[in-house]
């Protein structure tokens, strides 16, 4: 499914938040998942086009991070912590039962993906399961299996940790993109100001101080096209 015009525009909004547009790549990939349910080919192409990168550059980044999913699965992602404290409290057994119950990691019919997670930073509630990044713990084996069933039915209860009912995977990905954080004007004005500093920010390679520019985008290496267009439309850059 082609990406909608709205997503494209929102990707541009994210890019304008940073003095170097490429910084928006991680948020844009979250936005892609919000629309597509995973990082699709079209999504990679969109990020590449908006940021002036090649699709290979975008894919090399998206494949590095575990939160970017490579295939669609549905509305509910269950992550089970299997680090030592959770493991000895029963996390490993929960994970194995999940995989058995789903016949693998993805049960597309029920719209569920299960994964083992590394330490989720809530060891006092071991063992911990996350549903769409909302924490549940400590859970017994039975409670964990009930959570899987609830997710498959689309009736996930509120987290006992935060008290929040997790949004669907797409909705939480939209949240993670930051597009609805509501302070865009400020961030865009600040980014533009930095891009116009006496010595502006530059792309640099990981190991040298040599600014790296890409022929397709950020042609000056110091802010680029996006900021010229942003400058035309944004006021209050001073």
């Amino acid at each position: 499914m082609p990406i909608t015009e709205r997503t494209r525009e929102e990707a541009l909004v994210l890019a304008r938040r940073y003095p170097m547009a490429r910084s928006a790549l991680l948020p844009i990939l979250h936005l892609v998942q919000a629309e597509e349910g995973y990082v699709s080919e079209d999504g990679i192409a969109l990020a590449a086009e908006v940021l002036g990168l090649t699709k290979a550059e975008v894919a090399s980044v998206s494949s590095f991070y575990t939160m970017y999913k490579r295939e669609p699965f549905g509305d509910h992602l269950l992550s089970v912590c299997t680090n030592p404290t959770c493991k000895i409290a029963g996390g490993q057994a929960i994970y194995e039962s999940y995989v058995a119950a789903c016949g693998g990691h993805i049960d597309r019919e029920r719209g569920v993906m299960v994964e083992h997670a590394e330490c989720l930073g809530i060891c006092d509630a071991a063992p911990v399961v996350q549903v769409n990044y909302e924490m549940y713990g400590p859970v017994t084996h039975d409670e964990a299996m009930a959570l899987l069933e609830a997710a498959a039915r689309g009736e996930v209860p509120a987290s006992n940790v935060s008290g929040e009912v997790p949004p669907t995977f797409r909705a939480v990905e939209r949240e993670l993109s930051g597009i609805d954080d509501g302070v865009d004007e400020h961030l865009a004005a600040a980014a533009l100001r930095q891009a116009q500093a006496a010595v502006p920010p530059a792309y640099r390679s990981g190991e040298t101080d040599i600014p790296v520019t890409h022929p397709g985008g950020d042609p000056s290496g110091h802010g680029g096209e996006l900021f010229r267009s942003a400058a035309a439309t944004t006021e209050g850059g001073r």
Binding site: Y65, N83, I88, C123, V183, A190
Partner: protein
């Protein structure tokens, strides 16, 4: 040495209802630190933090004031303050509760930090999996803009400060400060070679300071109460208070706060002691990458210098306590699998070493180990430690070397019995035996035109 024991300083507001909203936060002393900071020169702010002796709370323990004083000034480039909120060290859960319960403390600290190092832009690099913390922080930033604490004219001072919440996408390595900066620039999170250090060439090649959530959230308190107030706790080299995460086989695992210098035994006692019928056998004092210590180290004061003297590190303040019911080889295997999974792949010793360490530990735990495997593990660790860009490879060797030092007999029992003595992992006979391909064999295969 100052007072020891459990305290409620940074966590004092945790149980105040709705303190995550700006009005309640203000009623509890919120933004008073910023008000004072706006009357001070940057050098005075840095001197205050230096005088408090605050050491970085992200693991390395580098003095925060000193770090800020290194940030290059007058380069004509923008200066950045980046908050490392990518909490992911196994056993660590102190920054997430702080951001969920008291998010404005971090926002206020970021503005003050910005004033100290001459930065007008801050980034909070938040671990992506912390959706709820992200919700709370985003709301706090919105409120702070609406009330004029953030923006073009901070509290009418004419000074500017903007704060961007940047949610990451799942990679432990991005907690390493230069990998974090690469990730924030929209790249794979891989560590950079230093020098140049971020203080002169950080984000976008500009002067940058990267600080942990807890370090930054401590600073507003220093402004309100002074440096001397902070040094009433702890020791000369480790002053102040520390958010501590106690987990494992204790009765009440959770988030506690202690004056530095509190004996580890007392900390475990504060967490309800061990579960009934269990005794401490080994523990990690500061997260999975800090070498394990044993029951004989329980009377150590919890300070950077004492823990280091015992051969480990205070790390992030994550105390993971295990009893004789937990297999030390299994815990070590799980930690090693973690590092194998989280190695970014940039440096060969860490990338390949993690794979081999896991293979060998797995075969020991499943009853397929050999006597020579123990020395092979140590040899591999020796070839990993200190040979990578960042400390992830070093951290990978910590649980292995320390558990082999303290509990070599456990490893030997696994090998001798051909199974885990505690029965944690059922023995397996179906594991493929992987052998490293020796160089001469590989060359012979190539010369022979095939394997």
């Amino acid at each position: 040495m100052g007072a020891t024991g459990e305290v409620h300083v940074l966590s004092a507001r945790y149980d105040v209802p709705d303190v995550h909203t700006i009005d309640v936060y203000e009623q509890h002393g919120g933004y008073e630190g910023l008000r004072r900071a706006l009357t001070m020169a940057p050098s005075e702010l840095i001197d205050l933090v230096k005088a408090s002796g605050l050491r970085g709370r992200g693991g390395a323990g580098f003095p925060t004031g000193l770090k800020w004083s290194f940030v290059a000034q007058g380069t004509g480039k923008p200066v950045y303050l980046v908050c490392n909120a990518d909490e992911g060290e196994p056993g660590t859960f102190k920054d997430r509760p702080l951001m969920e319960r008291d998010p404005h403390a971090l926002v206020e600290g970021m503005i003050v930090g910005g004033l100290a190092i001459g930065s007008e832009q801050g980034y909070i690099y938040l671990r992506g999996e912390f959706a709820f913390a992200g919700r709370r922080l985003a709301a706090a930033i919105r409120e702070a803009y609406a009330k004029g604490y953030l923006g073009a004219d901070v509290m009418g001072s004419g000074k500017r400060y903007d704060l961007t919440l940047h949610r990451a996408a799942g990679a432990y390595i991005c907690g390493e400060e230069t990998a974090l900066l690469d990730s924030l620039e929209g790249r794979r999170g891989q560590p950079r070679l230093r020098p140049p250090f971020p203080a002169s060439h950080g984000l976008y090649g500009c002067p940058t300071s990267v600080n942990n959530v807890e370090s930054i959230a401590t600073v507003p308190y220093l402004l309100r109460h002074g440096a001397e107030w902070f040094t009433q706790w702890g020791t000369e080299k480790s002053p102040g208070v520390k958010l501590t995460c106690i987990s494992g086989e204790v009765a009440r695992p959770g988030n506690y706060e202690f004056a530095l210098g509190t004996p580890i035994r007392d900390m475990i006692e504060a967490a309800g002691g061990m579960l009934e019928g269990r005794e401490v056998r080994f523990f990690c004092p500061g997260g999975s990458s800090t070498p394990m210590l044993t029951a004989e180290h329980l009377d150590l004061p919890y300070t950077f210098e004492d823990i280091q003297g015992a051969g480990s590190l205070l790390g992030t303040g994550a105390l993971m306590v295990y009893s004789e019911r937990t297999c030390v080889v299994d815990v070590t295997l799980r930690f090693t699998e973690f590092y194998e999974h989280e190695s970014c792949g940039k440096c060969t010793p860490c990338r390949e070493g993690g794979f081999w360490l896991s293979q060998i530990l797995r075969r020991i735990e499943t009853g397929n180990g050999r006597r020579e495997d123990l020395d092979l593990l140590l040899e591999l660790c020796g070839n990993i430690f200190g040979r990578s860009f960042c400390a992830l490879g070093d951290g990978m060797t910590s649980p292995i070397v320390s558990s082999l030092t303290h509990f070599r007999e456990d490893y030997e029992a696994h090998v001798r019995l051909g199974r885990c003595p505690l029965g944690v992992t059922p023995p397996r006979r179906d594991l493929p035996t992987l052998e490293p391909v020796r160089a001469e064999a590989a060359l012979a295969a190539i010369a022979g035109g095939g394997a």
